[in-house]
Amino acid sequence: MEEELIKRFKEKRDLAAFDELINLHKRELYSIAKARLKNDADAEDAIQETLFAAFKNIKKLKDPSKFKSWIIRILINNCIDIAMQNNATILCFDDYVLKNVVDDSDDYSAFEAKLTFFERISFLKEEEKTILIMLNCEGREEKEISEILDIREGTLRMKVNRIRKKMRSKYGKDLA
């Protein structure tokens, strides 16, 4: 399916095929951008830059089966660039909630249930969030993730264990 769309776009410059191709990976691209950048505007910039780079350079992609890894790699690099430009510091949502939203009378667990996906994983570092999204939510293999993030598989396993520990301490055994 994906390879066929790439072929259609490369050979006939079929824009509808490119649209479809992007639609297939929307969720993951959006979640990785959101995991790495603190606001929607920055995430939008990173995504738009990624779409432009993909549109421009898709001819150079030799192996169409690796399109997803390729576009995620571009997105991560764009996110790093934007974060460096903005000198972005990621505000931990927990701190924000404790300081601004929840007062003593609020039931924290009930409040937590209403949080969005990103708010729930906001206590993790950007890279940890990316790993969590790719490994647990998208069901990617460790080898593929280590290739995308350009880290060794051993290092990745270590990071996965660290994430599990953090999740366990945050949400209890059933969520780890």
């Binding site: 649209d19 929307k26 969720r27 959006y30 969520l175």
Partner: protein, 72 residues
């Protein structure tokens, strides 16, 4: 974790972020190529001018030698 993954799957994706303005993309690609082509052209013209200048100076020095010979 199941809860979290379900949360992820039910997450709403803002479509405006994925809106692709192909005209703008094509303009950007054209502009990029135009700038690169302009820079390359300027470099080539400069090289040609330097080459011509060197040749001209050689010719001038040869002419000077010839003039001095004739004067003698």
């Amino acid at each position: 974790m199941k809860d979290l993954i379900e949360n992820y799957k039910n997450m709403k994706i803002p479509d405006y972020m994925f809106h692709i303005d192909y005209k703008a993309f094509k303009k950007r690609i054209f502009l990029g190529r135009f700038i690169v082509a302009s820079i390359i052209t300027i470099i080539i013209i400069n090289c040609c001018m330097i080459f011509a200048q060197v040749n001209l100076q050689k010719d001038i020095s040869e002419l000077k030698v010839q003039i001095s010979k004739i004067q003698e």
